[in-house]
């Protein structure tokens, strides 16, 4: 769907992107992660042809990115807004027509969206009469009205209250189910794991990690398990077949320990060692969250 190859972008004084390559597959929800200033917005602007890269190429469905692709992309920038003095209806028609829709088609689709999101009464209202959340909703509709193949959202959930954020999230998922590819940038990890199929992590103008979420998580498994047991406290004296990371006492005779497997051993060995000694209530592998991976990776570079 979208193939970004070796993009370099320099501004006077600093480098925004140095040799970044990405592959976004059709139908994916792709998360572009990274701390502030990592180059996410610069990359997104290049895909939207707002700026051009110093070197490198972008391919859209196998074609070199050009003006004709603009109408197939929907873009919700991080810095967003609408004309304050213009009526919502007129404004949305205008934005849709700039994306190549006819006036009649724009009106038809707007009516459907307005009904869906409970915005029917807004048509004649001016933006300045709407609350911030309402403006965001309107803006989202403007982004997807021309039914783009690729929807690019820069920090889509910033500025939304939790209720609207949930509505927008559902709409994004539905658009994705209908076939749209979604590329969104964020530095909030909680949304990543539940939404994204694949991610790329940018830091200081470089891509430091990318791939499918499942694959990434597997790479970052580090054989750490949480075990809870009930009974007498066990004294680990180093003879056990695993490393003890820490232990905590809970209610009465409940204890929680975190362990790391020794090389070549597995969780069954741990259980075999423990079962004769106590009553196990839980054993779970600790898979690092995207947040932890993110922080670990960023700190490693720093």
């Amino acid at each position: 769907m979208l193939s970004i190859r070796n993009i370099v972008k320099q501004y006077a004084g600093h480098t925004a992107l140095s040799g970044v390559s990405l592959e976004v597959e059709s139908g994916q929800i792709f998360g572009l992660l990274g701390p502030n200033g990592a180059g996410k917005t610069s990359l997104i602007r290049i895909v939207n042809q707002i700026t051009a890269p110093d070197s490198g190429e972008v391919f859209f469905n196998g074609e070199k990115l050009n003006q004709s692709h603009i109408e197939r992309i929907g873009y919700l920038p991080e810095e967003r807004g609408l004309y304050k003095k213009m009526e919502i209806g007129e404004q949305m028609i205008y934005l849709a027509r700039l994306k190549g829709l006819s006036r009649d088609e724009a009106i038809k689709r707007l009516k459907i969206w307005f009904q869906k999101l409970g915005m029917e009464t807004w048509w004649k209202m001016k933006i300045e009469e709407l609350s911030k959340g309402m403006q965001q909703k309107a803006q989202f509709v403007a982004t997807v009205l021309h039914e783009p193949d690729l929807i690019i959202l820069d920090e889509p959930f910033s500025g939304f209250d939790p209720v609207n954020a949930e509505i927008i999230k559902d709409e994004i998922l539905e658009l994705n189910r209908k076939g749209a590819t979604i590329l969104f940038s964020t530095h909030r990890m909680e949304s990543v794991e539940e939404l994204c199929d694949a991610i790329a992590l940018l830091d200081k103008s470089k891509k430091i990690l990318s791939g499918k979420i499942r694959d990434i998580k597997n790479t970052y498994r580090n054989n750490i398990y949480i075990i809870e047991y009930t009974g007498e406290k066990i004294n680990f004296n180093g003879a056990q077949p695993f490393e003890l990371i820490d232990e905590k006492a809970g209610h009465e005779n409940d204890y929680t320990i975190r362990i790391k497997l020794k090389a070549g051993s597995d969780s069954n060995e741990v259980l075999q060692y423990l079962i004769p000694k106590t009553h196990i209530t839980r054993l779970q592998e600790v898979i690092p969250s995207m947040n932890e991976i993110f922080i670990e990776q960023v700190n490693k570079i720093a």
Partner: protein, 416 residues
């Protein structure tokens, strides 16, 4: 190109729909009519007497009695009586005054007029004129000069300037040329500022409302800038067209109301016809359009470089300076010497030409100078648009960065 049309359409319609625009369309011609009416009234009142006046002449010299002739609204009565006998009548009626001519009438203060109200200039002027004529012919008789001959050779001289041109001599009116020249210059000066500033405010609005990035993900920054400039320019043209049409209609109506074929508005219009009006109008439109394109591009660049209107000051000054400079020179010096080297240079340099050339035009400008000036205007606006577009495309995406001239120069050299 289709998208530029859409942008032009939006810029035009949102502005034309505004109440302020509609009000302005009617206010300005109304002001012009009001001004015309005031001028017409003043001209009327100072030129002739507005109501019936009676002057009682008490002539102690015996030279003038019976020789005054009545004109419209002014009647002379010869009374043999002394001044004291007439005075009560003067006190009673404010349209009656007494003229006392003492024996030695050539001495200063020897002729006096008594009235309840201070007499107008029209009255005293008419009496002075008649008395001078009477005194001159009286003296001629005294010196045995045949007054019949004098009368036959006496002429009423007023100068009418004739311009010599290739196409034949034509009547010229210096006053009208100055008037039209300055009026056009002022109008262009104001229009460049008003519409240039509208472009700038439009750019700032798009930037501060943060809609800019949404739009330039659909169109190129240059298309947006161009659409805005053309849209606002069309608003300006619409406004001018409406003013011209309304003013013509209004003067036609007002011309009837204040009808006096020579004075007032119709007189002014008659005078205006001594100038190639169509030619001046075409040049006005040309210089308005090219001047507007030249300056509004710069205004757009300024708008893109700042975050709010208050920050525009430092950039506005150098842009407005050449215009302001020419404007001040135009209304003070240029019209007195429309062919001086200064005037010629100013009317050729694109930044000052729109104002300076308008002042010179009614006096007649050599064709080659006009040709150079016009071609430089076109080159000038292409140049400023090119420079402005390069700054604009970077500036509109820059937030919270205080732009300096150094910064602007850097933006100019950014690759896309």
């Amino acid at each position: 190109m289709n998208k530029v049309l859409l942008i032009i359409q939006r810029e035009y319609i949102t502005r034309v729909r505004k109440k302020a625009f509609i009000i302005m369309i009617f206010v300005v011609p109304a002001l012009i009519i009001a001004m015309g009416a005031v001028i017409a009234l003043i001209a009327k009142n100072s030129g002739e007497l507005s109501n019936q006046q009676i002057v009682e002449v008490v002539d102690e010299s015996g030279v003038f009695a019976g020789k005054f002739h009545d004109i419209k609204n002014l009647k002379f009565l010869n009374v043999g009586q002394s001044l004291t006998a007439v005075k009560p009548e003067v006190k009673k009626d404010e349209n009656t005054s007494a003229l006392l001519i003492s024996k030695d009438y050539t001495k200063n203060g020897a002729v006096q007029i008594y009235s309840k109200k201070k007499p107008g200039f029209a009255l005293t002027g008419e009496i002075e004129k008649q008395m001078n004529d009477i005194a001159i012919s009286d003296n001629m008789i005294k010196h045995h000069i045949d007054t019949a001959i004098v009368r036959s050779i006496k002429s009423n001289i007023s100068i009418s300037p004739i311009e010599v041109t290739d196409t034949g001599d034509k009547e010229a009116n210096v006053g009208a040329a100055v008037g039209v020249g300055i009026a056009c210059a002022v109008l262009i000066y104001l229009a460049l500022f008003i519409y240039g500033a509208q472009v700038m405010r439009g750019v700032i609005e798009e930037k501060t409302s943060r809609i800019i990035e949404v739009i330039i993900s659909s169109v190129k920054p240059f298309q947006l800038m161009l659409g805005k400039i053309i849209g606002v320019g069309l608003v300006g043209l619409t406004q001018f067209a409406a003013w011209i049409v309304l003013s013509v209609i209004a003067t036609k109506i007002a011309g009837g109301a204040f009808s006096s074929p020579q004075g007032g508005i119709m007189g002014a219009l008659a005078v205006l016809q001594t100038i190639h009006f169509g030619f001046v109008l075409i040049c006005f439109l040309f210089y308005f359009l090219t001047g507007y394109l030249l300056y509004s591009a710069l205004f757009a660049a300024v708008g893109s470089a700042v975050d709010s209107e208050t920050e525009t000051q430092q950039f506005m000054f150098p842009i407005t300076l050449p215009l302001l400079f020419t404007y001040i020179l135009s209304v003070s010096v240029l019209f007195q010497a429309p062919d001086s080297p200064l005037a010629v240079w100013l009317s050729i340099i694109p930044f000052t030409a729109p104002v300076a050339m308008m002042v010179r035009l009614p006096f007649g400008v050599p064709g080659w100078q006009l040709a150079i000036s016009m071609s430089l205007m076109v080159i000038g606006f292409l140049f400023t648009t090119y420079v402005a577009a390069k700054i604009y495309r970077v500036g509109i995406l820059m937030y919270g960065k205080k732009a300096s001239y150094k910064e602007l120069a850097k933006w100019f050299f950014y690759k896309e």
